[in-house]
């Protein structure tokens, strides 16, 4: 990890199978080119010393050349160069052909940030210039999380200009082009945090379009994909908590088809119900006058007996039969989740950056594109 800011090591940090494929080739080329270079230097130095002008000496032999020698130093470098080529093809081939069964992560580049979306629909901002993000994006800044020793295919597209997703520790790099999908793959071999750079010049904050990749043990990653884990940078409740289980019931019961994040501000979909973000503890205005404090009891009532308090400005359309669909335990978990929901933490239906056709997308919106059991 370069995070410790020490001096650069002689061999750059390696953290993927591609890095392991790169290094021998790199040093192989270094060996031959250094040998060639030193040979040239040595010959030059020798000639300059041995054949410097001696006093009184001007005449030199009239040497015009030698086809045999020339042939020799045409063919020898060519053969050496061709070994670079062949080995280079082998490594490149590996780099551009992801294993067929790898799970796919989708990454969108735009000026000047990276956004990732996992197969379970979870989104995270991998990095970029915070000055130029929305409030919501800023809260989602995290890292691209990848499993240790497991291949992951990554498909990229750009929303505007050409970017490039480079991960030095993985020795991988790929131009991210607008209007076109490109894919590569990573198989990390080391836990830790690694730099992501935008390597293609893309405007003012090109140099701030940097981010992080976090490599975690594979089982942690699996749990996360199943919707059980909360990973760093994700807005989901922490794995195993009441709220986390409540979140899963919330998905299963399709509450989010009416209760969308933040009352649909800026979305094209018209919300049918008030947003539940930050409702807990608030004074809720009721139809027909009066307010009530949204405590646990109020929330429980609103679920099992929605007609009891109708929120001002909304139609009483919420189904009344949820009480029969959940146990009391589960109800407590749902309430815990709603208590947990703060502004900006409920995942949005995907209307802002809808991945184009063919993008990895497990759950289409609506319902809200978070994982969990269907």
């Amino acid at each position: 990890m370069n995070g410790d800011r020490g001096p650069l090591p002689a061999i750059a940090e390696r953290a993927s199978v591609m890095a392991d494929a790169f290094e021998p080739l790199f040093w192989y080329i270094t060996f031959w080119t250094a040998a060639g270079f030193l040979l040239v230097c040595a010959l030059l130095a020798w000639c300059c010393v041995a054949y410097r002008r001696k006093p009184g000496q001007i005449s030199t032999p009239r040497i015009l050349g030698s086809h045999r020698l020339e042939l020799f130093w045409t063919v020898t470098p060519l053969l050496i160069f061709l070994t670079f080529y062949v080995w280079g093809v082998y490594v490149y081939d590996k780099a551009v052909h992801p294993p067929a069964d790898a799970p796919e992560v989708f990454v969108i580049g735009k000026q000047w940030m990276w956004k990732a979306q996992y197969p379970n629909g979870q989104r995270v901002i991998i990095g970029g210039n915070p000055k130029n993000m929305t409030e919501e994006d800023r809260q989602n800044i995290g890292a691209l999380v990848l499993p240790l020793n497991r291949p992951v295919k990554v498909t990229f597209i750009s929303e505007d200009v050409i970017h490039d997703f480079g991960v030095p520790a993985f020795r991988q790099k790929i131009d991210v082009i607008p209007g076109r999908y490109v894919s590569t793959w990573y198989q990390p071999t080391k836990l830790g945090e690694f730099h992501v750079f935008c390597d293609q010049y893309c405007g003012a904050w090109h140099s701030l379009m940097v981010g992080k990749i976090t490599v975690v043990p594979a089982d942690e990653f699996d749990k996360f994909l199943e919707g059980k884990g909360g990973l760093q940078g994700s807005p989901n409740p922490v794995d195993g908590s009441l709220a986390h289980r409540g979140w899963q019931h919330f998905q299963r019961l399709q509450c989010q088809s009416c209760h969308m994040p933040n009352a649909g501000a800026g979305t094209k979909v018209h919300p049918r119900a008030p947003s539940l973000e930050g409702v807990f503890g608030r004074q809720v205005p009721l139809r027909g006058g009066g307010t009530v404090t949204a405590d646990e009891q109020y929330i429980r009532d609103s679920i099992v007996n929605p007609r009891k308090h109708v929120v001002e400005g909304w139609e009483p359309i919420m189904p009344g039969n949820y009480g029969s669909q959940v146990t009391e335990d589960e109800l407590a978990e749902v309430v815990a989740y709603i208590k947990w929901l703060r502004p900006g933490t409920q995942l949005a239906p995907n209307d802002r950056a809808v991945p184009p056709d063919g993008a990895p997308r497990v759950t289409p919106p609506p319902p809200v594109s978070t994982g969990g059991k269907q």
């Binding site: 001696k54 001007i58 030199t60 280079g88 480079g166 076109r180």
Partner: protein, 586 residues
Amino acid sequence: MSIVVADTPRTAPPPPEPVAPARNYLNETSGFWSWLLTVDHKRIGILYLVSITLFFVVGGIAAGLVRTNLLTPNGAILTEDQYNKAFTAHGVVMLFLFLIPSIPAVFGNFLVPIMIGAKDLAFPKLNLASWYVFMIGAAFMVWGLLSGGIDTGWTLYPPYSSRYSHASVTPGVFGVFITGFSSIMTGLNIMVTVHKMRAPGMTWGRLPLFIWAMYATSFIQLLGTPVVAITLVLLMVERVAGVGIFDPAIGGDPVLYQHLFWFYSHPAVYIMIVPGMGVVSEVLTCFSRKNIFGYKAVAWSSVGIAVVGFLVWAHHMFVAGISYYSALLFSFLTMLVAVPSAIKVFNWVATLYRGSITFQAPMMYTLAFLVLFTVGGVTGLFLATMGTDIHLHDTYFVVAHFHFVMVGGMVLAYLAGIHFWWPKMTGRMYSDFWSRTSATVIFVGFFLTFVPQFILGYHGMPRRYPNYPEEFQVYNVLSTAGASILGVGYLMPAVYLTLSLFFGPKAQANPWSATGLEWQVPSPPTVFNFEYLPVTVCGPYEYAIGVDQLGRGLPEPPGSGDDNPAAKVGPTLLPGPLPKETEVVG
């Protein structure tokens, strides 16, 4: 191993009297307009020399800004936007206003006619026009740089350059477009001149290698430049009219731009080295008093580079979304194009073998070229190898690679040329001590500047980054320190060469005792170069026999300088029967 001996020329008459004519191309006419309206290829060469020196200073100042800013991880002096404009200005000015016209326009103009025994280039007015076109193009670029700057990088990739940048891209691109025509005009002129204007006896096989190099360069200019010109037109239309063919928003393809751009710009990098290789062949033979080793190989490898150089452009795009198979092909062809350069390097080294070497400034610069170009060239192989380019692409490794070939290669060859032909162009000699010192300082400063960049690149530091992770700082500071030394090294010739104009001793017609036709005319030459019809009788590098291309003997070569005054006592020339014997190598 036996070697080939060419048909030997007859005898060597004594060298011509060193006449310093009262009238020469510099003082024949005078006044402002006599320069601005001149059609004399030598004066036009000087016009170019003055202009590009100016642009080199501009580009150098931009480089200074870039390097100073990189002293700290978050930008020492510039905002991100200013930095982007600084490196773009640096790249654009250095390439289009300095390096591309450097040797071709300065020495190509000045020397090609004289070297082949002609009175002028084939189209003198076109030649003058090329300078004006160049200056007009430069004016547009400067306008672009002053009116808000250009922030796209010299590669101008759309859709950033066409749809997103708010900077003054259009005038800048228009300027590049226009200077392209100047380059075409020069190339065309030189090609026709070499074909049609050679003096009697100056067969293709007797052309100095500098001419071969210029011929190959002109070929590239002629075939490559129009393609980039039209590409830039398409780009400007997209930018100005808001619709075009590269914009993916309407179904266009930004990668197509890259194909068209590199179709020119890869060959263009050979415009930026092949002329330098020509200079090296001239200087190396002269200061080792040897025939070039393998004339044909060196000549044809220039042509080979020019031709194959057109087939490798997509090696800039291995990670840009080209197809797997085209990547395979282009990588392979790039390996092939590297071979002629290797041939040249080894032939040059072999030329030194059993020579009688002295180390005046042109030679010092040339030796530095050999070392630095080899580093630059072999690091190109890391980039040509697909597996390694994936990681190294668009990192400082690439930056270091191209500075080694362009600055360590071409700029040093250009300086070698300046030092070699300065007496011819100005009629004055410069300080021997200071010129050797500057070569040494530049060599050391150069290594210190760009070697750390290889390390940075290998560790993944991206190019065009004003902000970088802290662990990269040490090497950036080293590089900036090196750049300061380099800057001092460049400043020195500026000073002693200028001083030489006023205080330098008068130069002989042939101060280096060289064989080319340009040395058989006075220093500085007269307006029409030759007072007689020069009849070439032998190849260009008969140092061993001691005859110039007219078959006359050579004057005493300058000794080995300060360190070996005893050398001066040697015989003047080698009269008598020429060796017919075959020399044996190795």
